[in-house]
């Protein structure tokens, strides 16, 4: 057996991809006790919050009544108690839910992560640091509001990975203060399986989708980026625009097989996908419009659909190693 076949065999051994059926079974055996305990806590919490809501609503009504009698103008005067009541309720929910969220992540999400691969470590409160986010060079604007959570790290086969949820924003100061989201979603980093020294960024293509081949010209005007790299795969060019500072190494990294894998991954996720290759690492940013890995207070935990969503979001990230074949170590980098 050649070392490639050997490598493939170890690959299969380490990456027994977990199916949804596996996960269903795991929910019934490994998770059910925790789920039931948490569900009891959630119910009690939801009940208490309903009472608290009723009390707040009652108070608001009394205040409204008193204000109405003393002849305050209906608009906007009467609006204030309603707004204050809503804020108060939101605050109570946040405070009361905190412990529940913590327990949920520490048990359920942690167990799902180690179910996917026992070599993975989960830290609910950590995230990919801002400096790494900037070093990936995917986004040109440095964020000044930056937060994240649900950090996962570890080794999948020969490949070291880490990912977390991130929300990076840019806020302009001054009178017309406005906030713009630079990136929100899943940010994934892994050790790349080939040696390289160049810098390569793969971005979703907007110009070429609109203007077809003519989109190439505006792409090459982008002066803040490295030169454009034109690749020969038309499907890849339809989805992405590639900038890099070395024409040959860029194609060494983006081999025809990796391009196909990236196209497949893009189709599978159907989200905005950004990639970059810097400092012997691969960075993958996947846009999401919702909060990931957060529990819901007012819907039951015992619904498998909900668990499936957590599982699939996590599996998508962990699966990048397999999808992009990062465990193929047939080059000098081992």
């Amino acid at each position: 057996m050649t070392f490639q076949q050997n490598a493939k065999r170890t690959l299969r051994k380490t990456m027994k991809a977990k199916t949804l059926d596996d996960f269903k079974q795991f929910c019934e055996t490994g998770l059910s006790a925790d789920l039931n305990a948490l569900e009891a806590r959630r119910r009690a919490l939801a009940r208490n919050l309903t009472y608290a809501g009723a009390v707040v609503a009652g108070l608001v009504l009394i205040v409204l009544f008193l204000m109405g009698r003393s002849g305050v103008q209906l608009f906007p005067g009467l609006l204030f108690p309603v707004i204050i009541g809503a804020i108060l309720f939101g605050f109570i929910t946040h405070l009361a839910g905190k412990g529940y969220v913590r327990q949920f992540k520490a048990t359920i999400i942690r167990k799902i992560v180690s179910f996917l691969d026992e070599n993975l470590d989960y830290s609910p409160h950590r995230h990919i640091p801002r400096s790494t986010f900037i070093a990936s060079q995917i986004f040109k604007t440095a964020p000044n509001r930056y937060k994240g959570d649900d950090y996962v790290s570890g080794n999948i086969g020969a490949t070291k990975i880490e990912f977390s949820e991130l929300h990076a924003e840019y806020e302009t100061g001054g009178k017309n203060r406005s906030r713009r989201t630079i990136f929100r979603g899943l940010f994934f980093i892994a050790d790349f399986n080939k040696h390289f020294t160049c810098r390569l960024v793969v971005l979703p293509d907007t110009a070429e989708k609109l203007f077809g081949g003519f989109g190439k010209t505006p792409q090459s005007w982008n002066l803040t980026r490295d030169p454009l790299i034109k690749l020969e795969d038309p499907e890849f060019e339809n989805f992405f625009v590639v900038h890099g500072n070395d024409q040959i190494q860029a194609r060494y990294i983006l081999s025809t097989s990796l391009m196909n894998r990236i196209i497949d991954f893009r189709k599978k996720t159907n989200r905005h996908l950004y990639l970059s290759f810097v400092g012997s690492k691969i960075f993958v940013a996947l846009s999401y419009a919702r909060n990931l890995f957060e529990p819901r207070l007012f819907t039951t935990l015992l619904d498998f659909e909900l668990m499936r969503e957590y599982f699939q979001d996590l599996q998508l990230a962990v699966g990048i190693v397999d999808d992009l074949s990062l465990n193929t170590r047939i080059w000098t980098k081992q």
């Binding site: 070392f3 040696h195 034109k230 690749l231 024409q247 040959i248 194609r251």
Partner: protein
């Protein structure tokens, strides 16, 4: 007067820009071609090491090893044309493919660290060479577009620039690569 400047300056600038863009594209082609050359040379440099390693384990493969050494000597003699260089390169690819098939019969050799490292380096170089060829073809496309498209085509014909040929893989070479596929994956 200012109107004249607005008209004349761009008219003077356009030929300069066209001229420079043609030169840049030609140089890009030459630059990548040089890179392919360097990578091929790197592959030739692996051969003595490979031959020495394989020799220690095998008795029956002398002729194949001698062929490899001969190809390398010819390629590095410096007295060959471009076409001969391509032909030698194809020969080398095929000979290496054969060697790696033969090695299947020598488990000790295959398992030796030295050989594994050589094989990894070789796989890496082959992939770099193929990347460089793709880059070359992209540079040639860019250059040919400029040479054949209006208005740069006018300047190109004045500068005596001709369309260049792509790096094509001949039928023979494809066979060589297929043998290589067997070990590459």
């Amino acid at each position: 007067m200012p109107i004249a400047i607005v008209i004349i300056v761009p008219l003077l600038l356009i030929p300069v820009l066209i001229y420079n863009s043609l030169i840049a594209r030609k140089n890009q082609v030459l630059n990548v071609f040089g890179a392919i050359d360097a990578l091929l040379k790197k592959r030739y440099d692996l051969i003595p090491n490979l031959v020495a390693t394989v020799k220690g384990y095998t008795q029956h493969e002398r002729s194949l090893l001698e062929e490899l050494t001969k190809i390398r000597a010819q390629a590095l003699s410096g007295q060959i044309s471009d076409d001969e260089a391509v032909e030698l390169d194809n020969k080398l690819t095929r000979a290496l493919g054969r060697l790696l098939l033969v090695v299947e019969n020598y488990p000790n050799l295959r398992a030796s660290e030295n050989f594994m490292h050589l094989q990894r380096t070789l796989t890496e170089l082959e992939e770099q060479i193929s990347a460089a060829r793709r880059a070359y073809n992209a540079a040639v496309t860019d250059y040919n577009n400029a040479v054949e498209m209006f208005p740069t085509s006018i300047a190109a014909s004045m500068m005596n620039y001709k369309p260049r040929r792509f790096f094509e893989i001949s039928e023979k070479q494809r066979e060589g690569i297929d043998a290589g596929e067997h070990f590459r994956r």
